[in-house]
Symmetry: C4
Subunit: 230 residues, 4 copies
């Protein structure tokens, strides 16, 4: 089978899984905003401004979760780019992963409700939130580890060093969110800072993402076997 | 027409139907979470934890329905992979099928409301829920039976044994959900266990899904007629 | 330019417009269900059943609107299949059309609220609902008439008779919904029956949809210029 | 690499980003309608009509925001057509851009709540609304400026004049929305008129959109290298 056909086939094989996943990501991200309701009962303009400002914990939670979803969506996409096919176990892990992604508006709403205060309820909201992120990171790693184990689902000519770098890169997330979960018992604000730091970490150019650049020339060759024929 | 072009054509023919279906699946799955609201009125941390724990029937209903939607989505996808084209009756059944899929958040919310108690209301909620799953399974089978009857819409070179295995595999669902519906009159918990068992059944590797593996070599040949030319 | 490349180009040209449209259709259809809420306050099982049964006008409105959206989506898809490109006016009409599609959950909820009673409010709800369908049908016709006028956006080799049949076929809708709107003043139930009859009319095999079958052979030739080369 | 393969590759490279973006646009647009609720408590038909008419500010806000989202979606699409690839900074700006797009139902609901009155609250609602549009326009320009700077992400053979015209065309938006924001302090209605005027401006055929027409012949050549071979 020529490389072009193989590529199209691969594309077809994962296309609808990716479409379904994209849908869940996009909807979960957009549903976050459903909790933002225009304040009612504000009599004067000053009261309206106060009411809007008082909702800041909801805005922070919304922004943090949207950023988180955007970034994990990008990495979900990156993993799919390395796959040559999927199997049933992978699809099952993917469903469980999406289940936790879709549930994220719930812990986000809880955090938005209690982020603005100090005390017990703030701590519990942060524990629920970081706990959810931890489970998401675990399932994301399960997806990758299942796919890369003995090159089960990944491209044959993918460099072993890229695989190892990817594995290391993604293992940071569950460790950091577990840390945030533990820290949340004593210092919920510190836990939130860890979550934001992780967002920055996965946004920064990394070994993993550099490897994509390096792959480009190979990819070119991959789909252009006809060039030699022209 | 070369096989590659035929494949692209087929792809085009069902692409938007699949996109619309994927959208409905993804949104229905994500809307399930809209019923999860942060508890209000909890004064202390302990009360908040209690209120969160007390919502467990909602979590169970959510997880069960999300899993159900994920699995039936995967099988909907599997059926489309076997199709070479669609017709008007198929599209009409597909709309009715999606109508019931989209309504699922409603029985899920009813079940989440009453799953945690014993008695009449629990039984009625379970009847509504299993009844909806039964109708979904009926319409799914109608889709497949219409498509496979006299090979109306399916690939010409699809093995007759694969068709028969698929038919048998999917007929299990309406029978099991009808059973769950009947059982729900006496033992709602047993009905819920049947629903979860069906999820496992359709997740396990099956004759049907193995057949996909077997088809791969054929598929390779299918889109690589150029290989002989190269 | 070979026909295959032209086809791919066309596909690319309308792909994202169709994806955006599909998204709006799928979400509007799925949001219809947001109005279905589990009844609260039912003390006994019998009361719960009564409360569920009492919501029948909501179920009827939901089913009618979902069916309507599914069918108009299919015909929107059919029109795009006849297009070879889009232009700015077409895209603008498409945005206005989608705006009314996305608003449909609102008149559906109004109808669901008052369909079960007799009198003034029922009549007004039916007027709002049929009025919305009338505007949708007008914009749908505007889309088609703009595209087909002097073959502005449609395939060059599309049979003139197919174009005329399509125009006639789609003109039935605004006329019927205008009729339903007028009838709603005296007999709201008759207006609802007209809406359901239109759904059946657009589901039945028609001259327009038969023409697609006839086009198939041409389409085969269209994307298979390589056949002569093989 | 032949041009056809390059085109397919480009397509693949931005496909899922566009799918995710389309999803967010479509859902944000459709969620706008969630604020439209059937009026309750209307005793008579006349009261129902009054209640429906009294919601006009919500309808105006909905229509304005839907139109806005439809137009900015179309231009987002137009920018992606000029891209040959994406990079990490571009994706990050895109996530921030989509974050503000997804939040739009919130300022829309605020505007819908207070558009119908005169005074402080109306002014504040208009400030929040135009402020959000201003941020959206800034991020949209950031996307384009990052991509076009030193032709970082855009097609190599894109005419320099097209790039300059595009830059000028998109710079109008943040300036106009900044103006609307300032004007909103004294005359909120004038600010709303500026927003509507901008919608018209971006709907009108422009130098930018004409350039697409001019590009068509080049695009033809681009994907039809085989023509010379046939």
């Amino acid at each position: 089978m020529p490389r072009f056909a193989r590529r199209l086939k691969k594309h077809e094989g994962t296309l609808r899984v990716e479409a379904f996943s994209d849908g869940v990501f996009a909807i979960a991200a957009t549903l976050l905003v459903v909790d933002l309701k225009p304040p009612r009962g504000a009599m004067t303009g000053a009261q309206l401004v106060d009411a809007l400002v008082a909702e800041w914990p909801t805005y922070v939670s919304y922004a943090m979760s949207f950023l988180y979803l955007g970034i994990i969506w990008a990495h979900h996409h990156a993993v799919y780019r390395l796959l040559k096919r999927t199997d049933q176990v992978f699809l099952t892990i993917n469903i469980l992963f999406l289940m936790v992604i879709a549930v994220l508006p719930f812990p986000t709403a809880i955090l938005g409700e209690y982020l603005g205060e100090r005390g017990e309820r703030h701590r519990i909201a942060t524990l629920v939130y970081t706990g959810t992120l931890f489970v998401t990171a675990l399932l994301f790693n399960a997806l990758w580890l299942w796919g890369k184990h003995e090159r089960r689902l990944i491209d044959d000519d993918l460099d072993e060093r890229v695989i190892r770098a990817t594995t290391r890169h993604y293992l940071v997330a569950p460790i950091a969110y577990a840390l945030a979960f533990v820290v949340a018992w004593w210092a919920p604000v510190a836990a939130v800072i860890i979550v934001l730091a992780m967002a920055l970490f996965y946004l920064l150019p990394s070994e993993l993402l550099q490897s994509y650049e390096h792959r480009e020339p190979r990819a070119h060759a991959d789909i252009a076997p006809d060039a030699s024929r022209a």
